[in-house]
């Protein structure tokens, strides 16, 4: 029994990172109602950008993160402004196809530049751990992931619930036309939302890049994790994303511990199905939305 404590603690900590992976997708999917299938690939692009900063430019991983994360805001803003908003004028479906196209393009560009080899951002913290008891130690990189994930969730939550931009995002997603009648430039608001979403993806990308190995084709894998997290937690709920991340992280690591590493993903998705059977709208989702 005592040897279960480590996977449980790791699972909870991993949940924070998973929440960071999902929060941007949740913002766009749950509130703006746009399914950004390129979310995972944008995230992995940020991983590679940090890798370049560390390996080629010689920055520390933290400095690299501070450089890369703000770069992704204008990227998301521009992607929405010049590509997705144009597709959105033709209806709700075209942007999904366009995002899928962007996903494929990004994967192949990354493949061309970086080759299909597994990479990871070299960081000293990746091998550090804080010993707690004989059976339990806390990996520093997981602690960082958890801390940053919680901070990202809190920041997006406050932004959506408490700020003028957040109100405009919610108003525009509920009733676009009426929002425009209130003086809201809804296309601009969508650009800001996507900028924020991609910024959070960049944060997650840097963390993932320091925690795990990644490939040019890792994006869809994280997209799937992000979907799992928001389906478990409840679509559009920021606190739900944290709950969903923790449930999925726990299910994967405890499952891997009990049934063997090969069963990690399977256990995650079985728990997802179980949650959906009991609470179809997710743990913190609302039935009417």
């Amino acid at each position: 029994m005592t040897d279960l404590i480590q996977p449980i603690v790791n699972g909870i900590l991993l949940g924070g990172l998973y929440a960071a992976v999902a929060i941007g997708l949740s913002l766009m999917f749950g509130i703006v109602r746009l399914i950004n299938l390129a979310h995972g690939d944008l995230m992995i692009t940020a991983s590679y950008l940090s890798l370049v900063m560390v390996e080629q430019v010689g920055l520390s991983p933290l400095t690299a993160a501070v450089m890369v994360v703000p770069m992704l805001f204008p990227a998301g803003f521009g992607l929405q402004k010049y590509v997705l908003n144009r597709a959105l004028r033709r209806g709700p479906e075209p942007p999904i196809i366009v995002a899928l196209g962007i996903s494929i393009v990004l994967q192949n560009v990354l493949l061309l530049i970086f080759s299909p080899d597994a990479r990871s951002i070299p960081a000293n913290v990746a091998v550090l751990a804080v010993p707690v008891t004989e059976n339990l130690s806390l990996p520093v990189i997981y602690l960082m992931g958890f801390g940053v994930g919680c901070t990202a969730i809190a920041a997006v939550h406050v932004l959506v619930r408490r700020t003028r931009l957040g109100r405009a995002i919610r108003a525009a997603s509920e009733d676009d036309e009426t929002a425009r009648l209130m003086g809201i430039d809804t296309e601009y608001v969508h650009c800001c939302a996507m900028g924020i979403a991609v910024t959070t993806a960049a944060v997650a990308g840097v963390l993932v890049g320091m925690t795990f190995t990644f490939y040019p084709h890792s994006g869809p894998q994280y997209l799937l994790i992000a979907f799992g997290v928001i389906v478990i937690g409840g679509v559009g709920s920021m606190t739900g994303a944290l709950a969903g991340g923790i449930v999925l992280g726990l299910a994967q690591l405890v499952g891997a511990h009990v049934f063997g590493p090969g069963h990690q993903l399977l256990c995650g998705y079985l728990v997802l199905l179980a949650v959906l059977a009991v609470r179809p709208h997710g743990i913190l989702g609302r039935a009417n939305s």
Partner: protein, 251 residues
């Protein structure tokens, strides 16, 4: 007529695809004036208001507000100039609180600076909204939603307020209350363009009345000179004198 009206619509045509909804509509509203636009179902009243609000692009004609041609503007820019539309069916944001709905109404840059004062004014006009400030929009009654829709539109500090069928689906008592606040709003110098099917009610508060029949607007004049019979005839089914004379270019 004042030398240059606040709102001046001339020769306006609006199409939905190949269907023409408005024909050469000419309507003007002076500063501080209350103008009623009456007409039956599908006459084109909402279409006119939505075209002024820039939700629809006219195929011909001009809309000038306060000296600015609204032709190439987007809806949020029209709001910023001081034109506000309370849409048919209220369209309160159900997932936002009453207070958030009001704040969204003050989104434009101009309105933002006066936010506290405007909110206080709205709460004075509709005390019930103050009590309900933290309730979700979709938990309000129909009457409260209509008050919120009007209050939200006032938050933008409009010089011209357009209201589309605000009495629809409300009890007579609530309608009376809503119209009382309308008079209060007009007394502060805000011009009002009021669309109603309820002829008697809207004409009673109006300085001038237009009738709209099948996409054509005709100025009927000042309410005092109109009998109820005149109005009914003008709006429901009868061919109009004015309309016939301007019907040269039937499509």
């Amino acid at each position: 007529m004042t030398p240059s009206p606040l709102l001046n619509v001339r020769g306006l045509d609006v199409h939905y695809g190949r269907f023409q909804a408005l024909f050469h509509v000419a309507v003007h509203v002076a500063q501080g004036e209350v103008v009623a636009l009456i007409g039956g179902n599908s006459a084109g009243k909402s279409t006119l208001l939505r075209a002024i609000a820039a939700l629809l692009a006219p195929s011909a004609g001009t809309i000038v507000f306060s000296g600015t041609d609204l032709g190439d503007l987007k809806p949020h820019q029209v709001v910023a100039l001081g034109v506000s539309l309370v849409p048919e069916g209220r369209h309160v944001f159900g997932s936002l609180t009453v207070r958030e709905n009001l704040l969204v109404g003050a989104h434009s840059r101009r309105a933002r600076n006066a936010i506290r004062q405007s909110m206080e004014e709205v709460y004075e006009l509709f005390p019930i909204l103050r009590q309900r400030a933290n309730i979700m929009g979709n938990e309000l009654s129909g009457g409260e939603q209509q008050m919120l829709a009007i209050g939200r539109s006032l938050m933008s500090g409009p010089a011209l307020m357009m209201l589309d069928e605000i009495s629809q689906g409300l009890s007579p008592l609530v309608i009376k209350a809503v119209y009382r606040t309308l008079s209060a709003i007009s007394r502060t110098g805000t011009a009002v363009l009021l669309v109603e099917q309820d002829v008697r009610r809207s004409v009673s508060v109006a300085d001038r009345v237009y009738a709209m029949v099948r996409g054509r607007a005709v100025c009927l004049g000042v309410p005092g000179s109109l009998t109820e019979d005149d109005l009914k005839k003008a709006c429901f089914g009868f061919e109009l004198q004015g309309a016939r004379s301007s019907e040269g270019e039937r499509s």
